[in-house]
Amino acid sequence: MAELLAPTLPGRARMRHSAPAAVSALALIAMIGVCSTLQPGVLSVQGLTLVLSATVPLVIAAQAQMTLMAVGDIDLGIGAFVGLVTVVTATKLSSSPLVGGLVLLGLVAAYALLGLLIHLRRVPSLIATLGASFVWLGLGLFLLPTPGGSTPEWLAAFGAWQPAGFPAPLLPILLVTALVHLLASRGSAGVRMRALGSNPVALGRAGLRPLTSRVIAYATAGGLGVVSGLALASQTGGGDVSSASSYTLMTVAAVILGGGSFSGGVAVPWGAAVGGVTLGLVSVVLSLLDVRSDLQSAVQGGIVLAVLAGRVLVGKVLR
């Protein structure tokens, strides 16, 4: 009996785990289809570049959120953090690259420190990261009270880069996602992080310190947040601390769309990427459909709920 079931069972189980991302991917394909019927130019390299470029920072920020959600935490400060990185990029990094680079490294260290505090003081990550978001916001306003500044040339050049043959935004998306996949899904550091989200008791019994796992996760999230901020600055050409404030909850939605869970334990880099692109494309579709701009948020929310419902439905069918 067991031998007979063995080949079929894991297949079904594995399907169940990738089902949410598959549902999001279907939604993504459907949206690209809608776009291309309304505006045939979308399917060209230039059109895809235009459509995808806005999703690059969001996808990278979603990877940061995914890393923290894998250990069972949640980051309510990622939006403000990405905003702060754009500000640092537009001020310090362009005036003196060394200082700017050090400040960005310091921000990553601050994230690691935040993880350390959350673990040692047993503060819920929800509260600690929400508190930290006001710190990021305050720092950003202190450095650059009004949106402005200018990004370093090399970054602007990257933002304007238009290679022939493939849409440029695909490159950072695939590169970052593949890196996160190597780290979180294949590597031993990822096993430690997911074990912390899945069963911290087992982790401790095996002689691994949960503290280290959490700090690794937060440092990774901080690093990804910096990359996301750089990507955003390369597109906007300046700094604005509140430019990414919508990312905080969008990234959570992206991870959930991609098959992540609030309770932790799973890493879904490809799912989060698909979820992020899907969310980013929703607004493009809505503007192509001429939905009134004051209704766009409501419709966007409705589409997210529909995709989530589809995910739940598929999960039930596969159980």
């Binding site: 189980a13 008791v201 095996a206 334990g265």
Partner: protein, 525 residues
């Protein structure tokens, strides 16, 4: 019961006694708050022997294992590994001692291979560990449990309970050098074939020089697999015998020759329900199945105290859950209910409220008029209960300032202050001091005399002496129903460990629950 056909342990006692001890416990004591889990344990586990450890709920088995595995430090005494004192938590000293946990220590979201990395990473290469872990876990699973049906890429949460247990045991065995293997209830969720191959593997390990410590409440399995049996009771070793020649009743006698606490049963309450005639039935379970239960029937009359006993996790809490939320058709409850949780910190106390508010929160709705609280009446109720149970600090003290015993008084009083006709107690007196316990036992009897019904799950068998009737559970079934004088610790231990030879004998419906036949205390199955 599954492995009676194992060959007799080879080797004589004499040459085993000559082998060097792997782990030695010397006068180990350990207390959690007021509860003394271990009271001076001396134990030696020698290389190449299979040592069976038996004992009832709360005897200290799990604490002793955790101390021997180096997971917890002891208050006094010492644990020696290979003759050298080993500090708890030291990976170097306890590196060759491995334990397979009953509740498993696997991460459900991770794959089998990843779980192996977590626990056996020292023995895996830095690069390509995934492949190495996969090969070794597959090879070991094939060796110990042929036909296991597990692949290293499966996530643990997708495996069946038995498969998880297999992976857990193999996880504990996967190490380059294994001196002591501790198995905690390894066969609890395994089928008969898997249990047989496991014990064959255990024998092979022992022949190769590894010591195996086997904890199980399946006495026959322990007797057939172990060379030596150690009986633990009330945190101390009470017997240490060679397994050869011992029988199941011998071990049971060693485990349970304990004097029951004299009952404070009042004659009237008992008389009212003893034979079940005349008393109104307030709640009934008719052959309840599903959700961990396999055909439980019980009937609770007004003014009756019904105990649910047996080893922990055999379906007692599921019965309480059914009575608390009678959603299915096999459960019928005709009165209001109140629930006293065992884990007061997690599900009992409202830590920001004071004693009075904590006490009256359940009764509040009954006291209120048209949705408005009547503060004066509430205060009277609170004063009555605070005085009756002598809660230290009075009604205005913060609940967290109270001692555990007084907190528990408040949680119990909350249930009894309400108008509920049926009070459900979920092992509420664990870790409560004796004085408070005695007061609460008296309260239970007094309230029962007033016509309230009480269903009481307890992991402490001595407490069951305060009940009118006791149902002993095993694997989601009632295996015995004791009444009156028959309720004693020895009896409960005997029936909760007794293994039925025909596990699936269909019972006549309603048999075990019928009060008119209940007074005879038979053993079913």
């Amino acid at each position: 019961m599954h492995v009676d056909n194992l060959p007799a342990p080879p080797g004589t006692e004499r040459d085993r006694a000559a082998r060097p001890p792997v782990v030695t416990a010397r006068g180990v004591t350990k207390a959690y708050g007021r509860t003394r889990a271990l009271a001076g344990v001396d134990l030696q586990v020698r290389a190449g022997e299979v040592l069976g450890l038996v004992g009832h709920n709360g005897a200290g088995k799990s604490t002793l294992m955790r101390v021997l595995a180096g997971l917890e430090s002891c208050d006094a005494g010492a644990v020696l590994v290979h003759g050298e004192e080993a500090p708890a938590g030291s990976a170097a000293a306890f590196g060759t001692v491995r334990m397979a946990y009953q509740e498993t220590s696997l991460c459900p979201d991770l794959t089998v291979a990843e779980n192996m990395w977590i626990s056996s990473r020292h023995c895996l290469p830095r690069l390509g560990w995934r492949r190495a872990a996969s090969t070794s876990v597959r090879r070991r699973l094939d060796e110990v449990f042929p036909g296991h049906g597990v692949t290293p890429r499966d996530r643990v949460e997708d495996l069946s309970l038995a498969q998880r247990q297999m992976v857990e045991i193999v996880r504990a065995c996967l190490v380059d050098r294994l001196d002591l293997l501790i198995l905690d209830e390894p066969t609890e969720s395994l089928g008969p074939d898997a249990a047989r191959t496991l014990y064959a593997y255990v024998r092979r390990l022992a022949e190769a020089g590894t010591a195996v410590l086997l904890i199980s409440h399946r006495i026959r399995e322990v007797l057939s697999a172990a060379d030596r049996v150690v009986v633990l009771r009330d945190g101390a070793v009470t017997a240490d015998r060679a397994a050869a020649g011992m029988t199941e009743p011998d071990v049971l006698t060693l485990m349970g020759a304990h004097v029951a606490v004299p009952s404070e049963r009042t004659g009237t309450a008992h008389a009212a329900t003893g034979d079940g005639t005349g008393a109104r039935v307030v709640a009934e379970l008719r052959d309840a199945r599903g959700g961990g239960l396999h055909g439980v029937s019980l009937r609770i009359a007004a003014g009756e105290v019904v105990g649910l006993a047996g080893l922990a996790g055999q379906g007692q809490q599921e019965v309480l859950e059914r009575l608390w939320r009678p959603a299915r058709r096999d459960t019928e409850v005709s009165v209001t209910r109140a629930y006293v949780p065992g884990d007061r910190q997690r599900s009992g106390l409202l830590p920001l409220w004071n004693v009075g508010d904590n006490l009256v929160v359940t009764a509040m709705r009954g006291i209120a008029r048209r949705g408005l609280r009547r503060i004066a009446d509430e205060r009277d109720v609170v004063r009555h209960w605070v005085e009756r149970l002598a809660v230290k600090g009075g009604a205005d003290a913060g609940i967290t300032e109270l001692s555990g015993g007084n907190q528990q008084k408040v949680v119990v009083a909350r249930a009894f202050a309400s108008t509920a006709g049926l009070v459900l107690l979920d092992d509420p007196f664990r870790g409560v001091d004796v004085h408070t316990k005695t007061e609460l036992y008296r309260l239970i009897r007094e309230e029962a005399a007033k016509g309230r019904s009480i269903v009481w799950y307890s992991s402490e068998n001595a407490e069951m002496a305060h009940c009118d009737r006791v149902h002993v559970f095993r694997a989601g079934r009632t295996v015995a129903e004791l009444a009156g004088e028959e309720i004693s610790e020895e009896r409960i231990i005997a029936v909760s460990f007794a293994e039925s030879d025909e596990p699936d004998v269909p019972k006549e419906p309603g048999e075990s629950g019928a009060p008119d036949r209940a007074a005879h205390g038979r053993t079913h199955g």
